[in-house]
Amino acid sequence: MIFSTIDFFMFFGVVVLFLSYLKSNQHKKMLLLAASYFFYGYWDWRFTFLMAAMTAINYYIGAAITHFPRWRTPWLWIAIAVDLGILGFFKYFNFFIESANALISPLGLHLGTLSIILPIGISFITFQVMAYVIDVYQRITPPAESIWEFALLTAFFPQLVAGPILKAQQFLPELKKPIVFKRTNFIQGGQLFLLGFFRKVLIADRLALFVDKVFESPQDYHSMTLWLAVIAYAIQIYCDFSGYSDMAIGCAKCFGYNIPINFNMPYLSRSITEFWRRWHISLSTWLREYLYIPLGGNRQGKVRQIVNLLIVMLLGGLWHGASWNFVVWGALHGSALATHKLYGDYVHPHLRIPPYVSHVFAWIMTLLFVCLSWIFFRATDFSVAFAMLQKMFALSSIQGIEWQATSLKMAIPGVIIADYLGYLMNQGKFLQLKKFSEWFWLWFWLMGCLLLAPHNPQPFVYFQF
């Protein structure tokens, strides 16, 4: 069920209707849990059992860690092994087999692959339940009071399939709040949802029509069109994913729950380090807290820090998808983070450049790097990625179809407006719907979404992860 389809609006309406009829908060939460499982099972009901199993295993291991302190470390490793085992089997089994086949095929050997369906959002669910067990182990958070509470933390439908990745210490206290429908929450949640809808439907889905076509056969297009397609993809993936996050935060807000922001205008970053503080904040926080810091972080010398950065980003890349493209994308970002670290320590202090010049230059370089690295993220294989890069940098013929999609011209002002509105909402500045002008803007915005939406809703890019 995609947030931007009529199916979701009907589902959400029915959930709100039933919730408003129930009196007991416990019943409301049970209904919300049932609705979340329905939401997940809408794609493939079989995977609801997988999610239920992961929930039960991690909940009981969390309880065991608390109740049997002597065995807490083995319990932790069991939980991590089970979670990564499930993720590894469903997401990476065939990838590793195929990679191994590429290595052993000269010896005449071949390993068989399995027909495995990738459960939607499995990476997000795995990271979320792992974070819970690790937090309980580190006594950062107490265990959930009941399995139902933990089940709702895991399955809460607004953020279930594409994040933000919720940490128990952030969201368990939220879940303790009673579900009470308030006008303010609906107004704020509705505006956040609408902002996400605007990003997703009016910007990302429109750009997808251009991007998909060019990335499908880049050899047919002119070098300038490839540059535009890369820029378009950078905007598309940002609006697609941040749109989903806005919608998730907005939906949760309607129930009275607060979910932290996941994006903070990442394309304004002046360094790759800053980019990762602004892009997919819940993932970068997860990677920092549960991987980078346990590996030693920056506490064991410069070389170890750089190695840690590379390991974290390689695994972060692999988390996005079972393909070497994502590994390369992660490696590029890891290298960029390491380079920036070295630059910040050894080069920057000795430079005598006016700040505004260095800021503009840093912003352009960061944006250029991020956009170019998206090629490896989006391209289906390396040959496509390298063919694009060759053509873009005139290392091969630049000739081809020149297509300057109108959607890109609309997307740039669109993304500026959306980011500005997002910034205002993050400051708590919502339309209160008390003044005439506030009603006008709400209607104008709503009608714009209805009238200008493209006709074929695209699934969210991050659903595949």
């Binding site: 076509k213 179809i401 297509w403 959607s407």
Partner: protein, 387 residues
């Protein structure tokens, strides 16, 4: 004491009611202004129509007025009282060589500005040539293109066309879907019904738009039909229809390539297709003076490097061949733009259809496509003029 409480309760209720009423009024007023603003925006950018009426011979046509469309490219055209992209038709002048151009949306070409339309380009070229060669006649090409039209429309209105326009020559623009879809589609306004090995021209008086909103208004609320002239209602109706039905209606290239051998090409055309083409061309030839046919093919540009008619849908390919063959047998000049389109693509790597807000290679002809059609029309009629 009791009275004071009642008064207080009433006062509070009154204040609440007033507050709620004020809120509702504000919201409704804001909604009205927002809707008006969007109506103005859509009318000037995306879709505006002067409405439609039913002409006794031409069928359902648009009223005189301004038509705007922004789905493909951007077009803002003036329609005459016959729903044609033309000024009002005047009697034929002396030394006027009048060509009537019949076709569908490829001919009316709402998405193309007047100066880039093939009719304008061909007319200018022909008249420049006539002037340079001191020919006596001057060419006037009338654009009678009507979106959704097929040869059934042209046959039904043939007499009307001959009498109204008194053309010296008639050009009919055809596409493969005229024969594969439109001509035998009973839901269209004019279609052909098979009667043995012949066909009967039939008018569907129940014909309605495929827009569900328009259908609903026509069937259930005919008194509100005038509302359909509001762009906001038409556009939002389409959007809701697509959201509910979940159909993919944005222009997307399928890239489906089916390779067939030369021998298989004819196998893909049924006997009925051959009969349909033969009967239709025969009727058109009898109905119109000095008939010429311009065929606009659908090209699969994404495999054009290996192009040899084999990359298209086999039935379309078969129909195109049958059309060319039948036209040759009946001595009807027949021009297919296929080789022009492919040569142009190979030279310039630019498709002849598609716009910046659609996908290249898909949809109606773009400015380059119109140039090529204009060149072919020029070639067709230059010799006529010299005679």
């Amino acid at each position: 004491m009791c009275n004071a409480n009642v008064v207080e309760i009433l006062r509070v209720c009154g204040v609440l009611a007033m507050t709620r009423w004020k809120q509702i009024t504000k919201a409704a007023g804001a909604f009205a202004i927002a809707i008006t603003l969007w109506e103005a925006i859509l009318r000037h950018t995306l879709e505006s129509t002067p409405g439609a009426w039913v002409h006794p011979q031409l069928g359902k046509i648009e009223r005189k007025g301004l038509s705007v469309q922004g789905w493909e490219g951007f077009g803002r055209i003036q329609l005459n009282s016959l729903g044609m992209r033309e000024s009002e038709i005047t009697p034929k002048a002396a030394h006027e060589y009048r060509i009537l151009m019949l076709g569908d949306s490829f001919t009316r070409a709402d998405e193309i500005p007047e100066q880039q339309h093939f009719i304008h380009l061909a007319q200018v070229s022909l008249n420049q040539w006539a002037e340079a060669n001191q020919a006596q006649q001057r060419v006037n090409i009338i654009n009678a293109g009507k979106p959704g039209a097929s040869p059934a429309n042209y046959l039904y209105a043939a007499e009307f066309h001959r009498h109204t326009f008194t053309p010296d020559s008639v050009v009919i623009q055809l596409t493969a879907h005229d024969f594969t879809l439109d001509l035998r589609d009973e839901s269209t306004e004019f279609y052909l019904q098979p009667k043995g090995n012949r066909f009967e021209l039939t008018r569907n008086y129940q014909f309605q738009s495929d827009n569900r909103l328009a259908k609903t208004f026509t069937e259930r609320m005919p008194q509100l039909q005038a509302l359909l002239q509001f762009s906001i209602l038409r556009v939002s109706g389409k959007q809701v229809q697509r959201m509910v039905s979940g159909t993919e209606t944005d222009l997307v290239i399928t890239n489906q390539v089916q390779a067939v051998t030369e021998a298989e090409i004819y196998d893909n055309a049924s006997v009925a297709d051959q009969q349909l083409v033969e009967w239709t061309l025969e009727q058109l030839d009898q109905a119109f003076p000095n008939l010429q046919i311009v065929f606009i093919p659908a090209i699969n540009y994404f495999d054009v490097e290996h192009h040899d008619l084999k990359n298209e849908h086999p039935r379309n390919v078969a129909l195109e061949k049958i059309l060319a063959q039948t036209a040759a047998e009946k001595n009807i000049p027949f021009v297919s733009l296929r080789s022009d389109f492919i040569d142009f693509y190979r030279t310039h790597q630019a498709e002849l259809s598609g716009f910046n807000n659609t996908q290249p290679g898909l949809g109606h002809l773009n400015a380059e496509g119109h140039q090529l059609v204009a060149q072919q029309l020029f070639q067709l009629y230059r010799s006529e003029l010299s005679q």
